[in-house]
């Protein structure tokens, strides 16, 4: 199976780079403009979550992105080794944020779930979080 792996430091500047790389990879499936935008937005949310929440803006940490294609489906995983999420169900509720003072909207998971076909979140406190998303193209 075809697969790409991208490891970036947890720098805000890498949000744009990461989403652009995954979107470029997805063009192999000949997606529509809207599908490309959906993928870019969802990846941006996952990478921003890793930077802001998992690593609390520690730019020395790594974020590992993996993308693969199976038939007409793009699979993307975004993995960090940060603080982890104590309560995933609560974290995935609309407008839930642990950082209201930083004007976080609490919509990251909502957008990932809405813009992609599937969304799975696995997390262990103190070990990290892996977000796995898929997008059926066409």
């Amino acid at each position: 199976m075809d697969k790409i792996v991208l490891i970036v430091k947890a720098l805000p500047e890498n949000e744009c780079f990461a989403r652009s790389v995954i979107a470029a990879y997805a063009t192999r499936l000949n997606p529509s403009m809207e599908e490309v935008s959906d993928i870019k937005t969802a990846v941006s949310e996952a990478v921003t979550n890793a930077i802001v929440h998992a690593y609390n803006n520690d730019a020395e940490k790594d974020i590992r992105l993996t993308a693969s294609i199976e038939g007409n489906t793009l699979w993307v995983s975004v993995e960090d080794t940060g603080v982890g999420i104590p309560n995933i169900v609560e974290a995935m509720k609309d407008f839930y944020t642990t950082k209201p003072s930083e004007e976080r909207s609490g919509l990251g998971f909502t957008i990932m779930g809405t813009f992609m076909s599937t969304l799975q979140v696995q997390s262990v406190v103190g070990e990290g979080t892996t977000v796995v998303m898929s997008k059926v193209i066409g």
Binding site: E15, C16, E34, T41, E102, E103, S105, G106, T110, I111
Partner: protein
Amino acid sequence: MIHYEVSKGVLNIKIGGELDHSVATTIKERLDKVIRGGGYEMVVFDFSDLQFMDSTGVGLLLGRYKTAKSMAKPVAIFRPSAPVDKVLKVSGIYSIMPKI
């Protein structure tokens, strides 16, 4: 890219390019200064040249909305591009900031 001007009582704020976490802090600081400066009756965010926005942009808009509301000034959104419009619709923000 940010450009703003007051015309006929409207503070027009045009944000172009891509709006994500990497640029949000700088934009917030600039906009707070302009919005708090007064001299207008309404705030309009022109998103016609904004190609990308994620939920960081929603947080930024809500923060500026609160500032404008504290000064009793309404806020509206002008011509969001399709990808930006989709994020704004999901956020429900049009219920407090109409699209014009």
